[in-house]
Subunit: 335 residues, 2 copies
Amino acid sequence: MSTVKLSLSDAYDLALECLLHNGCNRENAEAVAGRMIQAEADRCYSHGLFRMPWYVSGVKSGRVNGHASPTVERLAPGVLRMDGDGGYAPLGHRVGQAPLMACAREQGIAALAYVNMFHIAALWPETEALAEEGFCAFAFTGSYPYVAPAGGKSPLFGTNPMGFAWPRKDRPPLVFDQASAAMARGEIQIAARDGHSVPETAGIGPDGETTTDPNVVLKGAQLGFGGYKGASLAMMIELLAGPLIGEFLSIESQQDDGGLKGPPKGGELILALDPARFGAPDEYLERGERLFHAVLDQEGTRLPGDRRHASRAETRHSGIELPARLHREIQDLMA
Amino acid sequence: MSTVKLSLSDAYDLALECLLHNGCNRENAEAVAGRMIQAEADRCYSHGLFRMPWYVSGVKSGRVNGHASPTVERLAPGVLRMDGDGGYAPLGHRVGQAPLMACAREQGIAALAYVNMFHIAALWPETEALAEEGFCAFAFTGSYPYVAPAGGKSPLFGTNPMGFAWPRKDRPPLVFDQASAAMARGEIQIAARDGHSVPETAGIGPDGETTTDPNVVLKGAQLGFGGYKGASLAMMIELLAGPLIGEFLSIESQQDDGGLKGPPKGGELILALDPARFGAPDEYLERGERLFHAVLDQEGTRLPGDRRHASRAETRHSGIELPARLHREIQDLMA
């Protein structure tokens, strides 16, 4: 595969320019480009520049507001709500972080309900950002219906990731961000494209039978990880990112899209806890490290996020390699 | 198996009397007996009268305080801490519920950190109780080290359950309470006793190899459900029920037990959200029902907790059947 080498800053400029040329104002373009390049830097390609054509099409179709101006409202002493004004999530995240942190510092625990935003994407950036400032954070979001309920055959829940972050002493936070589905949607699509099989736990066909054929899974339904327990988590996340905050269920989000297959519109719930207010302000970091050391003392283990951090350390110097075809596609979007 | 039939109220009286005879004051005995019979009524036997000899031994050994007087302190506007005074968890739960609800109503979201309690047990009773009063609730707790970290071979995390509850319209709340481990500890022990095999996903032997022999798993380590994702949840729960609130990790809890194999001492974190304060007070119940209907519209599905509710409806009239041996054992504890 032919690739184009770009420094992170050149990649950012490319993304920024493309978004500015395609209906985003500077504030929105900067937030989206920043998030994309953050994903590239961590080698989470499925959230990186790969998304550009899709992001651009969302704005061009008129569905997504490239000039969104998100606003925060305080619904209760510990609850904030941000209306994303129909824009992409990254600007909402950027605007929402400071008020959420202030609220959590004041209250000990605070929630931020994001509504009216498009494509929440990976949850590690916003949870990691909170943990870098010392908070313990959760994030929950839905998407389109891909995952069957336990015992069922038809897609109903989103792949519904949950993110969690914990601050560490003199190190980047511990962060995980995992779908409730056994396998990421993108991985199944890639297996289908490349003619590979998928594990039997990944999904079922339209007949409800397990299969290792990714094409059959894509026509049927994905399954929750670990069977019914992952499906329970998917249901919980539907409730938190939908009904609780007055936003779409994944099935409603798909209806709203009306067959365009554009970025999903929906909600996200973030919880931030200030560990200094939970009764052990002098111990929590130390005790957390004790746990992490006990994990790493066992051969064959690593902590969630270790690979991302290693990638980040490398790409800071090496820059990234973009498939030449994608690079051209992005340039064509500016022609 | 020979059994003894008891009405729920007779079963409660039996439990109460046994605890009163064995070092618990009335307040503690009532709370523990109530929780045990609630489990019997829902046919969650592993949290029912089966536990009585173990509970009694905990008090008799002097480890557990049968006269505990739990106290609540407010650490921040949205954070409460309850010191369980070294007693069993049910009294702490009973005392903590009202202040937690008041705090969540006032703040929109509130946390209650339980510390210095023994044997947190199932998490559905306390989360269900909150959802019955209209709250959305989470609970997290550790135990003793049984589960290996992802890629590791040795037990480190507890089976670490997470409970979640959501209020429903004119129905009992939706509640799930699931271990991060692929299989409950008790199920593996029962398989070992009865000479049955366990699924390959349940655990590994001391050599780190998967096995279907429950005896080998008991010598080795259990695994998280769905592999590394369940292990991530187990780690999250260790952090929330331990370091965050100044309580033991599961490995520390085992050290503290000093080989007695008595009830584990530790912490529990509960979060309560008032859905009326999250921006959609008139919609959240309806939207939740829409999701549940979509689940139940699919053949072969049921909602988490359905079996417990069905059992509860039955045992209210039928009472319970206690193994005669257990009944005798409990009576012997009062001789």
